[in-house]
């Protein structure tokens, strides 16, 4: 069975590409358009991996991350944070709050796909 990937980003413009990309990689893709939707989606169906944007309405990526990690059942979800915030403090915060990896926008889709493969491969 292919891995389940949840993409949480409020920007439709990147969702199109990411969704296409992840589907093409052979994953089962689900999208969420804000923080709350992402949390709900996780509660409904636990994904293997999340692409999580840091800045989203309703709940920020950091809050989503913290909330998901506060449930021990969710400890094995791989969280890859995507963010336009390039400061080292944000990176430190994301990692401290439970993200497994962190990518700063803009990024190369090839690198992203590579990273996702790596993370899922390591987990498998």
């Amino acid at each position: 069975m292919s891995a389940k990937v949840l993409i949480a980003d409020d920007e439709q413009n990147i969702l199109i590409s990411l969704e296409f990309l992840m589907k093409r990689e052979g994953y089962q893709v689900r999208v969420a358009h804000d923080g709350q939707e992402a949390v709900d989606a996780v509660a409904q169906e636990k994904p293997h991996l999340m692409l999580l944007d840091a800045m989203m309405p309703k709940k920020t990526g950091f809050e989503v991350c913290q909330e998901i990690r506060s449930n021990p059942d969710n400890a094995d979800i791989i969280i890859l944070m995507l963010t336009a915030k390039g400061r080292d403090t944000d990176m430190a915060k994301g990692m401290a709050l439970g993200a497994n990896a962190y990518m700063v926008k803009p990024f190369s889709t090839k690198e992203l796909a590579q990273k996702v493969r790596e993370l899922l491969g390591a987990a498998a």
């Binding site: 990147i14 590409s17 700063v104």
Partner: protein, 730 residues
């Protein structure tokens, strides 16, 4: 009649006795040597003439008296007189020549004393001249400093350790106007003034904290023992304050050529103020633009890049291709628009951050634990502290933020103890406040950093996150897996470790201008109660009011207040309070000729509800003086409910004091007193004019009261109470 000297009597008596004895012994010897017939002949010869013999004896005694008298006068009284005269010369400043008298030695001694007196006089004159010169120099230096200060574009306020303002410049005055809560009424004079407390503007704790930091730095021998802080004022302005200590000066050992050196003892401080409210707003705007340019662009570029990269797949559906192309078009268009927006934005000024100062990490941790334990029933202790770390922080707001978080932990999570940890993650310092959570976790504390900081009853306009953002840092809650403890982590910027300079380097560097020599810092606060204070040492607000009539309880309203200040026995003409008041009722036409205030003049003026609080602030910590003060005080009292301010100051009434000084005069009206004291009446019957006249009269009264043995405020009040006029009541 001159009193006869006892020495002459005693001397004469002694000589008389000796003569008598000699006569008797000689007579007895001769008598013993004589034959019987010779004895009979001698008795026959001398017997009838024995009286003559005694007469001769008495006669010779008169000669002895005269001679003795001369000798005593010449050799004993003259030196005694000289002694007395010399004592007078020694004890007083009388300058006169002593007349030589008595023996030659005595005369020479007199001349010697005269020479010494001359010498003393010339020395004294020389000293006076030097003192005058020195005070002229001081005056010159003072004027130079005053000129310099008034030219400065930065506001400067000099205070002693009690926070009393000793010196301020014009710029500070204008700045304080912006801080005033009632700018149209008092224009800031209620806040700044000689002898006023700086704590009416700044939080006492804030100043104490800065002083403490300076003290620490001094003890460590820091090169620049100054401190900075940012504070919001009551009027909502954001001020950046730099504080520089004024240190006690130690005079060099006599005879050495060293210049006076500064000690580590503080005698006061200089505050330099910058209103950065505007900068702060600009800053926020700049932040927004910068954000849209960096982080906003990152997202847009990411969108476009991802779309372009997906477009490169050959097997794309035409519909998907079109969607991706529109994403690229969309994002490029948005980027162009953003850049345009940036260009038109006015936020091109330079960035001004909060002043971050370099602070030893261990010092900060110590301050945090101390502050938390002082403010809350929470035990705070240091955990691991990397003492090699130096931070760049604005310590006051940071402390407030930590106390706020600890306070919330205590109130909402029943946390009794916190630990503080400081370490480095390579690029930044991690300041952690750890606690052991009672319940399941840290969920309850999420989002606390977005709330406004609250310490005690005060709420700051900043959130913890704001404080961290200003430090280019961040904060979050984390949980330690191994120990189960939770912690707030505050990421803070690191500073390069400081060299610990010896204080000599600074003290000898002569970076301080010379005009700091004058002695501003002598006048320290006396903590005695006001009643025991000397009238000459108190600060007074002398005021007068005009009203629509004489019955405040019956609806008459105050329509004008004028007041001046007396500080250190000087009338401060430029620190005045003058305000017309809209009485919200008609002004009786028959009173207009008396006070000269027409209904048009009060139209649009503030009402008593806003004027009295400002006046109350103006009068803070002073003694109120007014002519017939009972009337004015009654007017204020009637308004207590409406304005919420109570004038419970000590009050002196020039009318009553006049009755104390001149009990036999018929009139104690202001005009009559002014005439008696020869005070010019200008602008009489405006509140301000009357206040000035009252002030001048009052200052002339102080020495006259002293002649009557009335020196303190308590004595003056007691004396005034006893006069007839005090029994009148409004």
């Amino acid at each position: 009649m001159r009193k006869t000297d006892w020495r002459i009597i005693a001397g004469t008596a002694l000589v008389g006795l000796v003569c008598l004895l000699w006569l008797f012994v000689s007579g007895s010897l001769i008598w013993a040597a004589l034959e019987d017939n010779e004895r009979a002949a001698a008795v026959a010869a001398i017997g009838p003439r024995i009286a003559l013999l005694f007469l001769m004896w008495a006669g010779s005694l008169i000669a002895v008296w005269v001679v003795l008298g001369y000798l005593v006068r010449h050799f004993m009284t003259a030196p005694a007189r000289l002694l007395e005269n010399a004592q007078v010369l020694l004890g007083t400043d009388v300058k006169r020549k002593l007349v030589p008298d008595g023996s030659p030695e005595n005369k020479k001694l007199t001349e010697l004393i005269n020479q010494l007196v001359d010498q003393r006089e010339s020395l004294r004159e020389e000293m006076d001249q030097r003192v005058q010169e020195a005070s002229r120099n001081t005056e010159l230096e003072k004027n130079r400093l005053a000129a310099l200060m008034s030219e400065l574009t930065q506001s400067v306020v000099v205070c002693n350790l009690d926070g009393r303002i000793l010196l301020y410049n014009n710029r500070a005055r204008t700045q304080f106007r912006a801080l005033s809560k009632a700018p149209s009424v008092a224009g800031g004079v209620e806040l700044i003034g000689l002898g006023r407390s700086i704590y009416s503007v700044f939080d006492r704790k804030l100043v104490a904290h800065a002083l403490e930091n300076i003290q620490h730095r001094l003890q460590r021998g820091a090169a620049m023992p100054s401190a900075q802080f940012v504070t919001t004022t009551q009027a909502g302005q954001l001020l950046r304050v730099q504080m520089t200590p004024v240190r006690a000066v130690q005079m060099p050992v006599e005879g050495s050529d060293d210049a006076p050196t500064q000690t580590n003892e503080l005698t006061g401080f200089v505050l330099m103020l910058d209103n950065i409210t505007r900068d702060f707003e600009d800053d926020s705007e700049k932040d927004r633009v910068l954000y849209s340019l960096t982080e906003g662009s990152r997202a847009a570029i990411a969108n476009a890049q991802a779309a372009v990269e997906v477009l490169e797949y050959p097997d794309l559906e035409p519909e998907m291709r079109e969607r991706l192309l529109s994403v690229v078009r969309d994002e490029i268009h948005a980027l162009g628009k953003r850049i345009e927006e940036m260009q038109t934005s006015s936020a091109n000024t330079l960035r001004s951050r909060w002043p971050l100062e370099e602070m030893h990490g261990a010092d900060l941790i110590e301050a945090v634990t101390r502050r938390i334990e002082a403010a809350l029933p929470v035990k705070a202790e240091a955990d691991q502290v990397d003492s090699s770390l130096w931070l760049k922080v604005e310590s006051f707001s940071l402390l407030q933020a930590l106390v706020h978080l600890a306070g919330k932990l205590q109130a909402e999570c029943q946390v009794q103890a916190v630990q503080l940890r400081l370490q480095s993650n390579g690029q930044r310092a991690c300041l952690d406040m750890l606690w052991s959570p009672l319940g399941e976790g840290t969920k309850a504390v999420i989002g606390w950093e977005m709330e406004q900081i609250k310490v005690g009853t005060e709420t700051m306009s900043l959130t913890v996150q704001d404080v961290l953002t200003r430090h280019s840092g961040d904060s979050w809650v984390e949980r330690e897996v191994e120990t189960g403890r939770a912690f707030f982590r505050l990421l803070l910027p690191l500073a390069a470790p400081q060299e610990e300079l010896s204080s000599d380097t600074y003290l000898r560097s002569e970076s301080r201008p010379e005009y700091y020599d004058f002695d501003l810092f002598k006048s320290s606060e006396h903590s005695r109660s006001l009643d025991d204070s000397l009238l000459t040492q108190l600060t007074y607000t002398v005021f007068d009011t005009e009203a629509t009539g004489l019955n405040p309880a019956g609806g008459d309203e105050t329509i004008q207040i004028g007041a001046v200040r007396i500080v250190n026995n000087k009338l401060l003409h430029h620190e005045f309070f003058e305000q017309l008041i809209d009485p919200k009722r008609p002004i009786p036409p028959e009173t207009i000729p008396i006070h000269g205030i027409t209904p048009e003049m009060v139209k649009g003026q503030p009402t008593i509800e806003s004027v009295l609080p400002a006046f109350h602030t103006f009068t803070q910590e002073t003694v109120l003086v007014a002519h017939n003060a009972a009337f004015d005080m009654r007017c204020f009292q009637v308004k207590e409910q409406a304005t919420g301010v109570v004038f419970d100051h000590p009050v002196l009434d020039t009318l009553l004091l006049s009755a104390v000084i001149h009990p036999n005069q018929e009139s104690h009206r202001l005009e009559a007193i002014a005439e008696r004291f020869n005070v010019n009446i200008i602008g009489r019957h405006t509140a301000m004019g009357d206040a000035i006249v009252t002030a001048e009269i009052f200052m002339k009264m102080i020495p006259l009261l002293a002649e009557k043995g009335i020196h303190t405020l308590g004595e003056a009040r007691a004396a005034a109470q006893k006069t007839f006029y005090a029994r009148l009541k409004y």
